[in-house]
Amino acid sequence: MITFENVDVVFPNGFQGLKGIDLTINQGEFVGIVGLSGAGKSTLIRAVNGLVPYTSGSLSVGETVVDPKSKTKLRRLRSKVGMIFQSFNLVNRISVLNNVLTGRSAYTPTWRSMLGWYRAADKELAFQCLERVGIVEKAYERASSLSGGQQQRVAIARVLAQDPEVMLADEPVAALDPPTAHRVMRDLRRIQRELGMTCIVNMHHLDLARSYADRIIGMRAGEVVFDGPVAEATDAVIEEVYQRSMTAEDVVADDVPVSVEETADATEHDPDNDDAHHDDDPAVLGSDDPGSNDPGSNNAEQARL
C-alpha cells in the first residue's frame, strides 16, 4: 500500500511539481496516471522511490516512510520498488543478463558488483525473470542489439529481479509502435497479476490506460483532479482533466485507421487558415463525444496536428 498525505514537491528552481497530493494505492492495484505533459505524472511516480524528493507532507510505501534525506533508507526502499522508463535505460554495451543482474544490486555485496561476479542463485533468478518476459534466449546478447519492445522487456525483467512489491512505470510504451505497445502492456499486466505487485503506470495514451488499468488517476498542474475506476473515466471526465477536447494523439493509433486521414485532412486545410471549415467537419475530431467541446480549442488542436 502506498500512501500520500498532503505531499508537496517544490523543485530547487521554485517550480511546484506536486501540490497537496492525498492518495492511497492498495496492494495489488494497477493504477494508470493520465494527464498532459507537465501535469506532474513523472514527478508523482518519482516521488515514490525518492528519485524526486518530496518537500512536505508524508509518503510511505507499505510500512516504510520514504525519507529523501537518508541515502541508506532510500536504497533499502528502492530495492523493493522497481521502476521502468520510457527510454528503457538499459546499459547498451553490456549483455542482457548483466542488465537484469543490475536489479540484484541491493542484494549483492559491492565487491561482487565491482568484479561482475554474481552469485549462481542470482543468475538463476535473472534467467527466471527473462523467462517470464519471454526473451531468455537473448541472455548473452548485447542490450543495444535488441528491438525496442525487447529492450523494454529486459527492463521489466530487471525490475522483476529486484523481487519488488511495487513497480513504477514512467511512460513505459511511449517509445514503442502501437502493436508492440499493446503486447508489452499485456505482458506487464499479466506479470503484475501473477506476482500480485502494486503497479503505477504513467500513460500518455488514454486508450491504453483504459484497457489495462484497474483505476485511473487524472492529474493537472501538479494536482490530482480525477481518481476512480476505469468505468468512471469517460471521455467527458478526461476532457475535464485535459481541459481540452481529445484528439487522435490521445489514443494509440493501432486500431484507429481514421487517424491517417485526419492528419492529412488537417494539413490540407491548414495553409488555407480556414478555421470555420473545421467546425462543421465532425470527422476531424478524434473524440467520439463531439457534443461537449468548445470550437475555439478545437481549432487550436487542429492547427497543431
Partner: protein, 355 residues
Amino acid sequence: MTAVAESDSSAGSPGTGVGTGSSGTGRSSTERPKQPRPSALAYLGLLGLAAAAFAFFWWSRESTDVLFLPLGGVTLWAPQNPLIGLLIMLGLLIVCWRVRIGEMAAFGALTFVIVTYWAGENIDFTLASIWERWDNLAGQLAAFFNPNWSYVFGVWDEWLVTLNMAIVATIIGCSIGLVLAMFASPVSSPNKATSQTIKALNSVIRSIPDVGWALLFVAMIGGTAYGLGPLAGVLALLMFNIGIVAKLLGETIDAASPGPIEAADSTGANLTQRNRIAVLPQVLPGFTSYSLYVFELNIRASTAIGIVGVGGIGHELNLQMNRFAWENVASILYMLIIVVLLVDLFSLWIRRRLM
C-alpha cells in the same frame, strides 16, 4: 516570375530558355539580390586603427633597417618592418572591402595581423638567422641525412627501458586517472564538494608539464646519476598521465547518458555499484582510447624528459648530443619516428577491434 517573362519577350524567340542571359549583353540577365555592403564608416575606422598600429610599430621599433622610397625628386624613407606591416594591413583591408566582408570580421582579421606583428617583433622573430648561420647548420644537416644505423641497434636496451617506462606509467597512471575521474565528475562523485576538490587538484597536476615533473622527481630522488633514472621517469610520466586521463575521462563521464544511471539508482544500488554498473560500461571505449593515446604520448615524452636526467633513450640522446655525434642523434630520432608510428598503428588496431 516577372524577370523570366521579360527576358522571354526581349529574346523574342521561345525556347531559348537559360541561354538568353548569356547571349544578350548580360544586363538583361535575371536580377540577383546584392550582397549588402559593409559600413564604409566602420572601414574608415579600421583604416585609422591600421594607421595607429603603424605609428605604434614605428615608435616602438628596435631594428634600425630602413627602406628608401625614391619618388621623383625626393626620396622618402621609412623603417622597414613597420612599413611591411602597414602594407599587409592595407592589403588586408582592401581585400576585405572588395569581397564585402562584414566590419566585425575585418576587425578580427586586422587585429590578428596586429597582434602577430607585435608578438613577432617583441621576440625579434626572423628566419633570416638561419641563412646567417648556414655554415654552422650545413654540417649537422648533412649528418642527419646520414644516420649511423649500426649505432641505433647497439642501444636497444635503452629503447626497452623507454618502452617499459611508458608501459608501467600508462597502466598505473590510467588506473589512478580512472578513479580520480570518477570522483571529479559530478555525475559519479559522492557530492559536489568532492567533485570540486578533485577537479582543483587535477588542475594543479596538469599545470605542471611533464618536463617539470621530471625535474622535480630527479631533484627529489635522484636521476640516472644514482641509477634511479627510470624510477624518476615513471613517476614523472605517471603524474602527467593522471592529469590527462582524469581530465578527458571526467568530461566523458559528464556526458554519459543519465538514463541507465537513474535506472541503477532506482534499483537501490549504492554509489560504487552504480558507477561500476551504469557509468563504467558507458565510458569504457573512451577510457581505452585515452589510455592508448597516453601510451603514445609517453613514448614521445619519455624521450624529452630523458634529457633532464631520467633513464631511457632520452638519456642516450642527451649523451650523444653533448658529444656532437650528430649521426647517432639522427639515428635515434629516425628510430623514434618509427617507434611512435608503430605504437600509433598498434593502438589504432586495438581501437578498431574494441569499438
